[in-house]
Symmetry: C2
Subunit: 147 residues, 2 copies
């Protein structure tokens, strides 16, 4: 019973650590390049990972943040030319958030670092463990989706 609580807290701790490490490595890489904050990167990442084109409101829901928060993050990403607002012809209230070439390049570079770190972390795990882990994560994705 208590084990499961601590597991969650452990998970929180390692996620924090992993993203901290990722940010550190990413910052190091981007010394003279585009400086991007964790939140900005998180939003960019989310936009990239969505199946369909999204508008600001979608991202507010997906990220679980206020629409004005998203708006300001979008502003900063647009200033850095990582994404671009494109007005929907059919409904001019909507701004589609399109990732620019630079944005994709930044994400790719980020993904390489993620990849590298993941390999480091996975060392010593066998295939079946990884599969079960992946299965459980997917299970939790579904369960949290129901919340």
């Amino acid at each position: 019973m208590e084990t499961q609580n601590f597991l969650l807290l452990k998970l929180a701790k390692i996620m924090h650590k992993v993203f901290q490490e990722l940010k550190k490595r990413f910052d190091k890489l981007n010394d003279e390049e585009i400086k991007i904050s964790t939140e900005q990167l998180g939003l960019l990442r989310s936009i990239c990972l969505e199946e369909d084109d999204v508008i600001q409101k979608d991202m507010a829901e997906i990220m679980g943040k206020d629409k004005s928060s998203i708006l300001r993050l979008i502003n900063s990403l647009e200033e850095k030319d990582l994404i671009r607002r494109v007005v929907d012809n059919k409904d001019r209230r909507k701004n589609y958030l399109m990732v620019t070439k630079t944005g994709h390049r930044v994400m790719e570079r980020y993904m390489l670092i993620v990849n590298e770190l993941m390999l480091e972390i996975q060392q010593g795990l066998n295939k079946s463990d990884k599969e079960v882990f992946s299965k459980v994560v997917n299970h939790i994705v579904i369960k949290t989706g129901e919340l």
Copy 2:
């Protein structure tokens, strides 16, 4: 290869969702009670979970934040009478962070909610899957500890 990246991002997403849900349930509970922010709760949680008594500097290291950040979070927790600074007799530079009765009560209440949500999320998983998951998490704890 790519699978593992997305696994991390998936994990990040579910953690975000879980803590969001936890905060929501916790806020609902604490309508007239102590209002506490996510960061404050996170710090209180960490202090409670440590084996030994800690000082501010320890928490800065554990949480991976600047000591001044911790200091201010401690201030807000102390204002709410959830923790108390106690000067070390042998080294008067050090403030031990002692959790008050109220602090423990708040944490217990929080843990109950965590517990409840964990049970909801785990429904449908068999024992062996949970064990493997736990094992992998522990593996990652060790690996991230080496970073």
